[in-house]
């Protein structure tokens, strides 16, 4: 009997968990203005906040909304400090602002370039009980603010949902954006051996194809008004001491993503005199080995990974078996990677931004040395020698063992 009572108690106790909504506020959910995306700006005098608030009625009818229709409203507030700006934004809604469901947090470039303002912003946000660290952090140029909540959001109806969706799906396939969460950013900002990075948003304008084909599409001004802005997330914002230092584009983010363990797959093309090869790199991992040579910091970056050849286009008509070219292909791939990585390092050095975490590498290999470097202020990433070493294996992926073109139409019999 006692055992039955115990089991029943455990079951009833566990069922009680269902009653928990995870909302820590003492307010009913229907009285909350749930933030999906937050945009923060600082114009040198005032903090500006734009919140995308989920409209519950529209969100509930999500499947019946047409493409491009919004399931949220935008509220705006500004003030001398972050708190006032948020309070002013709160006055525009009859509900209580609730940020614990915020999917994306966007800072403008001019805010990100102001260390003091960034500091104030994080200090305020991190003290809030509804602060959501898992929100993905983005940087946008202040001239593009208007486009953030009006740009195309694909199959979703909220900018926050769209950006979060991209951060879930993109790294699994091909992406050059780091999709750093707010927590990763804070972690790196508080760490002395690595600098934070964030995804940099830019916009590209594409004309609606239906409109282009229409007969009335002749008016240029009308066309530009109807053109939809699309998010372009192929860049990476670099930070130095919690202050934005610069932007890297496309392939430049590859090395940073590999060394931060965020890289899943990346395609590159390489060309030599005889052939053009389309590679896909996967399972890539990087490690930094730090030492001192001739009074300079020497960084050896070891890259491990799997090389998948998607296609080889021979410039001559030779019909060469791929298996005969393994070593040559790996050599070409390594050369191409070195080319890309060297350019990235050059860019990083330009901004003196240790986004690859060489400081952490030194600290974990020789902590005393790192302490000395830090104390003397001699962690000179700009002056360091960086070279690469590879451990790349060759693989043919997919469910075919023989390339389609090599398959025989008839079974060969003697």
């Amino acid at each position: 009997m006692r055992r039955i009572v115990t089991i029943l108690s455990i079951i009833s106790f566990s069922l009680g968990a269902i009653l928990l909504s995870s909302c820590s506020y003492l307010v009913e959910p229907q009285t909350l203005a749930v933030v999906s995306c937050a945009l923060y700006d600082y114009d040198g005098e005032k903090f500006i906040v734009d919140y995308e608030i989920i409209a519950p009625a529209a969100a509930a009818k999500d499947s019946s909304l047409k493409l491009g229709e919004r399931a949220g409203i935008i509220i705006h507030g500004d003030g001398d400090c972050v708190e006032t700006a948020i309070a002013n934004a709160g006055r525009q809604t009859e509900r209580l602002i609730y940020s614990a469901s915020c999917r994306a947090r966007i800072f403008t470039e001019r805010l990100a370039r102001d260390r003091k303002a960034m500091s104030k912003m994080f200090d305020y946000l991190m003290r809030q009980p509804d602060f959501r660290e898992t929100a993905v952090l983005f940087i946008v140029n202040e001239n593009d603010i208007d486009k953030v909540f009006s740009a195309d959001t694909g199959l979703t109806h909220l900018t926050g949902e769209y950006l979060m969706g991209l951060s879930d799906s993109q790294p699994k396939s091909e992406s050059t954006a780091p999709f750093t969460t707010t927590l990763s950013f804070i972690n790196a900002a508080l760490s002395s051996g690595i600098e934070p990075v964030a995804t940099y948003i830019s916009f590209e304008t594409k004309h609606d194809s239906a409109m282009e084909g229409s007969e009335s599409g002749g008016n240029e001004a009308e066309n530009s008004e109807n053109a939809a802005a699309h998010f372009n997330l192929n860049s990476i914002a670099l930070f130095k001491n919690c202050e934005m230092a610069g932007v890297l584009y496309e392939n430049d983010a590859l090395l940073i993503n590999i060394l931060r363990g965020d890289e899943k797959q990346h395609s590159l093309d390489a060309e030599d005199e005889d052939m053009l090869i389309c590679f896909a790199f996967s399972k890539m991992k990087g490690k930094i080995k730090a030492s001192e040579k001739d009074g300079k910091l020497d960084l050896k970056i070891v890259i491990k990974g799997q090389l998948n050849v998607n296609d080889v286009i021979f410039k001559t008509d030779e019909d060469v078996e791929l298996s005969d070219l393994n070593d040559e292909i790996i050599e070409i791939a390594e050369k191409r990677l070195t080319e890309v990585f060297t350019k990235t390092i050059k860019e990083l050095k330009k901004y003196d931004c240790d986004a690859i975490g060489s400081g952490n590498a030194i600290a974990s290999q020789d902590y005393d040395k790192w302490m000395k470097i830090k104390k003397d202020g001699t962690h000179d990433f700009q002056d360091s020698n960086v070279h690469f070493e590879y451990d790349i294996s060759f693989a043919r992926i997919g469910e075919l063992t023989t390339p389609f073109g090599k398959m025989s139409t008839e079974t060969d019999t003697d």
């Binding site: 115990t6 106790f13 995870s22 820590s24 898992t134 927590l183």
Partner: protein
Amino acid sequence: MDNARPKISFLQGVLTLSGSLLMLSFYMMPMVKSNKPMGSNVWLSILVAIPYFVVFGAPTVLIAAKYKIESFGDLAEKALGKTGMKITAVFLALFLLVSNMVYVVVFGLFARESLLEGFPLWLIYAVTAVPIIYTTTKGIGSVCRMATVFIPLMFIGIIVFAILGFNSYELYNLAPSGGKVSLLDLNIQAILIVGQSSEFVAILVFNRNLNKKVNREKFFCVATLILIAFMLLIVLPTLLTLGYEYMRSAVNPYFVFMRQVGMYGDIERIQALGVFLSIPAFLIRAATQNCAVTEVLNCAFPKPDKRIFSVGAGLCIFLTLLLPTFTESAKFSDFVSVPYFEAASVIIVFVLPLILLIFLKVRKIKPVEETVRN
């Protein structure tokens, strides 16, 4: 001898002890808030604490292993005389009362800052005081039986959070940080960790309630190992996720870690589940300590109904915590981060049982069972 006193089994005892001692780490993680920053070595200091648990717990365990029948009052009286016993009992009761107060303050701070923002603090304390006092009046047997149900649930919760939180782990958070940590610093920190778990001295008080067949040495070692294992399961995932600096600044770092846990986009923001699992464990710890205060005071000033001490101790905590020092956030966060309390705790849990043990040895006091046989 009191035949009606509750018998605590090995499992009940181990779960109550390890579960209760873990609660401070769950709500505050005092080991990351020490004056000397430990950086990512903080988890190492927990491992280094194992031998110190053995050393500082040795006098308590040796007394418990030899004198299984006697109450704390009987033993203290035989060793130190009646006046000595009363002084020791009052001193121990005060220590347990203050440490319980610190613990309830930690919970109050966490509840007000993270869970129930703007909620009146007196109401939080009142809501916690009622079940603590009620459970205490039911006795240590009921508390331990409750522990067998709720503490495993909390342990399972901690394991599940550690597994589900895997996606948010950043290995570079383990890179050395926070300044140079010497071997001496590491050992001092390990001793302070023992101080943060100093309520194991209550073993002396509940020893006679523990089943006679239970091997006291094994009981203490198993409880300590479980405590260390779960401390690591709390500290390591939090360190890997938040990094040392954020961990050090957060009111409740483990709660912040639980906030990050999610999987496949469907399981997210399940921190409320963690808090839900921890609240019964919080009550168990507070009630266990209140029971210990009741027992000790009852030894010094025997009363026919010892529930008067249970209610009195509970009300004493509740009323003291309403003082402005404890209701003002800035002041009470200072209060709970003072390392002197931890240092004093270590001395009390080691020195008090040691003095008792020395006097028992010097006076050659034999266990009650042996005396009866002879």
